[in-house]
């Protein structure tokens, strides 16, 4: 059994009490807590090196630029990528929007198809709806198997040379199901389409190497992997990034600007208009450093054990229904459930009284909720700092909820 208990002291917030008891944070799929080293890295930047990047010949500017670009290198290295193929963006949402508007708009036409899955987060649905509305392309959904994994058998009837983009989640933030990366990227390639992976839940929890998985774009957020808010990464194959139109105009993304015409800087700068999130990039780099020091294999194994334990303990709670794969090799550590007729919002309130933080709602996945014919779920999700006692506390509190609502 992997015990990462000693890491907990690196996370200041875990010392906090909520409603008079220890914080049991089971909401890492929404956002993760930050280790001291990430806060220190940003503080150090602001206290000693703060300056705008890329524009100055003075010492602070040179230091800030070097720190910013070193962070790019670190984040790129984490997914096996070249620094110049990694664009810093506001988060996974902005990353996917950049792909939709920057690549989609100028590659889609009426009648083309974009394939997504029914388990997507709104961040991987709404941008495609917006771009479809402009281009006349059609959004086609893959549905789910009995075990909540994506049903790729229906691809057969959909896949043709009208398909230009297959965009899917590497891991569902609702069911925890892993996305069929290989099947869908192969399918995309077979018809000359590109594959886009929404990796907001994948990259934080699993080692990902973009040279291993043959995809075209990948987007993720720092705040879901120990890093700060306000930053994420968009990775693309060099050729794909070069095919993309700039998504925002402004300083730093240009080569020349005349009154009426401009030319663009090389990627990745072409997509980083204006002052970038500098401190955030540095904090992101520090988060990666922390994750690498622990080891993604260790983190993944730890989460798998926790998830297996949680699935087992939760199955003992009467009236509890889990929405997601039972097989831990098919899933990550986000566990959605219902408890009898107790609304998830009520569950969250009751758990919160015991210091337990879970999400309740549609988890920004309304089409999935409609598909599963449920309006909402409660969701517990794990990260490296969670311990088995957190699961125990959850189960105790769920029994309390049953009692309060008179479930017998």
């Amino acid at each position: 059994m992997i015990d990462l208990r000693s890491l907990r002291s690196d996370f200041p917030i875990l010392d906090r009490e909520v409603n008079g008891t220890r914080l049991v944070y089971l909401d890492s799929a929404a956002t993760t807590q930050k280790p001291q080293s990430v806060l220190d890295a940003m503080d150090d930047y602001y206290r000693l090196h703060n300056s705008n990047v890329h524009r100055g010949a003075h010492t602070l500017a040179a230091e800030a630029t070097e720190m910013y670009e070193a962070a790019r290198g670190r984040v790129a290295g984490f997914i096996g990528a070249q620094p110049n193929d990694l664009v810093f963006v506001r988060g996974a949402t902005t990353g996917i929007n950049f792909i939709a508007y920057g690549w989609g708009l100028n590659h889609l036409k009426a009648g083309d198809k974009i394939i997504v899955t029914i388990m997507e987060h709104h961040a991987n649905i709404v941008p495609w709806q917006l771009v479809s509305r402009i281009t006349g392309a059609e959004l086609v959904y893959l549905e789910l198997n009995e075990d909540y994994t994506v049903d790729t058998s229906s691809l057969e009837g959909i896949l043709d040379d009208k398909v230009k983009i297959i965009s899917f989640s590497g891991m569902s933030n609702v069911t925890g199901a892993l996305g069929p990366i290989k099947v869908l990227s192969d399918a995309a390639r077979s018809v000359g389409a590109i594959s886009v992976v929404d990796a907001a839940q994948l990259v934080p929890h699993t080692a990902v190497d973009v040279t291993d998985i043959d995809i075209d774009f990948l987007a993720f957020s720092a705040h879901k992997m120990l890093g700060p808010t306000g930053i994420g990464a968009l990775w693309g194959k060099t050729e794909r990034l070069e095919e993309m139109e700039p998504t925002e105009g402004g300083g730093e993304m240009i080569n020349t600007v005349d009154r009426h015409e401009s030319t663009w800087a090389p990627v990745p700068h072409k997509f980083e208009a204006g002052t970038p999130p500098i401190a955030e990039a540095i904090g992101f780099g520090a988060a990666i450093e922390y994750l690498e020091a622990v080891g993604m294999d260790v983190i993944e194994a730890h989460e798998r054990e926790l998830t297996a334990y949680a699935l087992e303990r939760l199955s003992e709670v009467p009236d509890l229904t889990i929405y997601g794969p039972k097989d831990v090799t098919l899933r990550g550590g986000a566990i959605s459930f219902e408890l009898g007729d107790i609304h998830p919002h009520d569950i969250a309130t009751i758990l919160d009284q015991d210091g337990i933080a879970v999400r309740a709602g549609h988890h920004c996945a309304k089409p999935l909720m409609q598909y599963l014919e449920i309006p909402a779920t409660a969701r517990a999700s794990f990260y490296l700092y969670n311990v088995f006692e957190d699961v125990d506390a959850l189960v105790v509190s769920l029994h309390k909820a049953r009692e309060l609502f008179g479930l017998t």
């Binding site: 609304h343 919002h345 009520d346 709602g361 549609h362 309304k366 309006p375 609502f405």
Partner: protein, 150 residues
Amino acid sequence: MSGLDELYREVILDHYRNPRRRGTLSGDYIHAEGNNPSCGDEFFLDIEVSGDTITDAAMQGYGCSISQASGSMMMDKIVGMPMSDLRELIHNFKLMMSIEEGDSPVDEDRPGSVLGDLEALQGVRKFPVRIKCADLPWATLTDALDQVSG
């Protein structure tokens, strides 16, 4: 009483599980819809008005015990009421939930005393994030009223 016991009073769970006047109206009625995008709760309201009086009402929707019980209790309260009294009822409710402030014929210590059964929702005040749950049916009712008054 603990905060949770105060929140989940028996009468609330009763209204949650046995909502009053669930369904839709037919004929001539006013329809309003409310939803709470952050949690997904929905509330659909039909009210029938004859002269100045609400003569019938029906609700549909889905949501947590607080939003649904609040709606169910609201139904009980409004049927038979003169339209002209509705704004004050809404104000008194919002006063109890600390959504609105102001003078009112309300007892400081028991701001819900004029509200009958609805007073049971007073415990929600200790759970600020749940106030918008309790308010959803009332916001929908306000919407319905605005349709009538122009």
